[in-house]
Homo-oligomer: 320 residues x 2
């Protein structure tokens, strides 16, 4: 599938900000090309830690518009920005989000903005996300911040939080009251909350409800981060500067409190686990192996044994 | 957490259709109580294979209403029905879907209808779903069919398809055109398509588009199942008998074509893999183990090594 390329040269060009080189490196990440390992080893340590900002929220709250407005805000102070648009519902990448990407077109010709859509399920069979590796490529290209926009609801929101330093949860007036938010588990994952489309009826109430529910959930220990709730009209740029400011404040808090180091370690932990599990899973079906999976699956399906007993045999065959 | 209970007696009572016994067994499944293994061993082989029907679709298409109408249809021909409402977005179970469950209240006093809400992420840390095990409890209680209704969009839809014999994909007019459906990957997973709220404008067009896209995707080999597209007004019961008939037809096709056996094996395979991976993952963090995860995570986070190299060490420490 992937041709063998001169990785050293590609990485060098990516560092210099060549968008084609960045694109090709992310393609290696997505494809899980034979050179992915080599690429990750090459990038390890050499990349400065960018501020990784996750943006999440239900469809229709204006994630792309807000992302685009944030890109503008960061560009106005001279920062190079990377954007990953991750679509958990799509097995495809690249063109999957073309419609949404149109909102990002104003940045298409800016050499200091790197935008890429990708599927969230990586090459490693769904257990490992390719997002952290793509982030690393953008870090190598000296992007800071890297914005990770996740489409979708539910579990994927919680997952994006695990891959970001700062998680922005977007809501829109009338699109889900506080109870819905609590139900979806988004109160726990948000570092910054945005009520977008704040020129609509009900914005104040949504913001008030959110603040109330956040204060209920606050543990109150000194030094804890208190997630702000910001009203924004991203399509007009209203409130976007304040949002960028809140993101910078959270970054400073991450650095001063030590929470940032902890989050990065947790992220690395999840990444390692995903890769290790995928590697172990690849050994499950080995031909001629004692406890071969297909045979055990038939036994379970036809009631000759149960799944736990079968799993014991698989584990024993892999891990001894 | 869970008290030690007399499993043999509970299973016996569940078989006799005691709803409290069924409820307690599903709680054991959800909690991953120490007796879960014992329970699964006790149920293995002893449970007849029910027709497991998955219902999925975006929020608002009328999944609960359709499920309730289907329960009525199956009850009218004397079948005992189990319903699992799985909420992938919620870390909580039980009361999570209370609002939706209200639509099921007409069946609350029917001793031959078992309804249970549960979170999709099981006790095994997100890698293994508890759904197949809960299905097995309902099978033991002689429910047939078992309806598995999944809330949410995206990846969860694909997952529910993996846990059902027959997957019903619901849509509503104007709630997403054919392209949206294709994007979400639901065309591939549906055995039966339902355009619900078919008294609304656009129902014919939605059905037509769906049929067209399905025919484009049909391989055309003889004996293949051709997914029907049915128009239903679940709130009035219109078209629900035809839907129940289509489900019975699909079940007959599964039996005659051999596809049913294959699906059950694939399902068992995924279940075994999930349990085995969770068991392996539990060994990753062992204290004092060479390549302990926390230390490696710090190394990756601080750029001293990369995630693939770290994962190699974890795999070696577990699997030798």
């Amino acid at each position: 599938m992937a041709r063998r390329v001169d990785l050293g040269a590609l990485v060098e060009h990516a560092r210099e900000g060549d968008p084609r080189a960045v694109g090709r490196l992310i393609t290696i990440v997505e494809d899980g090309a034979p050179q992915l390992r080599e690429l990750m080893a090459a990038l390890s340590g050499a990349t400065g830690p960018a501020h990784v900002i996750g943006l999440t929220g239900s469809p229709g709250v204006g994630k792309s518009t807000t992302t685009s407005a944030l890109v503008r805000a960061f560009r106005s102070v001279g920062r190079r920005v990377g954007v990953l648009a991750v679509d958990p519902s799509s097995p495809f990448s690249g063109g999957a989000l073309l419609g949404d990407r149109i909102r990002m077109q104003e940045h298409a010709t800016d050499p200091d903005v790197f935008i890429r859509s990708m599927a969230s399920r990586g090459h490693l069979g769904g257990l490992a996300s390719a997002t952290p590796q793509a982030v690393r490529v953008l870090e190598a290209a000296r992007c800071d911040p890297v914005l990770v926009e996740t489409v979708g609801v539910g579990q994927s929101e919680v997952e994006v939080a695990g891959e970001a330093d700062t998680t922005v949860v977007l809501l829109a007036p009338g699109m889900g009251d506080g109870i819905q938010a609590a139900k979806a588990g988004i109160l726990e994952i948000g570092d910054v909350f945005v009520v977008n489309k704040a020129d609509r009826d009900g914005a104040d109430q949504t913001a008030r409800e959110l603040r109330h529910m956040i204060s209920l959930g606050m543990s109150g220990q000194p030094g804890a981060w208190r997630p702000p709730v910001l009203k924004v009209v991203a399509s007009r740029g209203d409130g976007v500067e304040a949002l960028a400011g809140a993101l910078d404040e959270h970054r400073a808090w991450l650095a001063s409190s030590g929470a940032g180091v902890e989050r990065r370690r947790q992220r690395a932990r999840a990444e390692i686990e995903g890769i290790a599990l995928a590697a172990l899973q690849a050994r499950f079906g080995g031909v001629g192996r004692d406890g071969a999976l297909d045979e055990l699956a038939a036994d379970v399906a036809e009631g000759r044994t149960d799944a736990f007993t079968a799993a014991d045999r698989i584990v024993a065959s892999v891990a001894g």
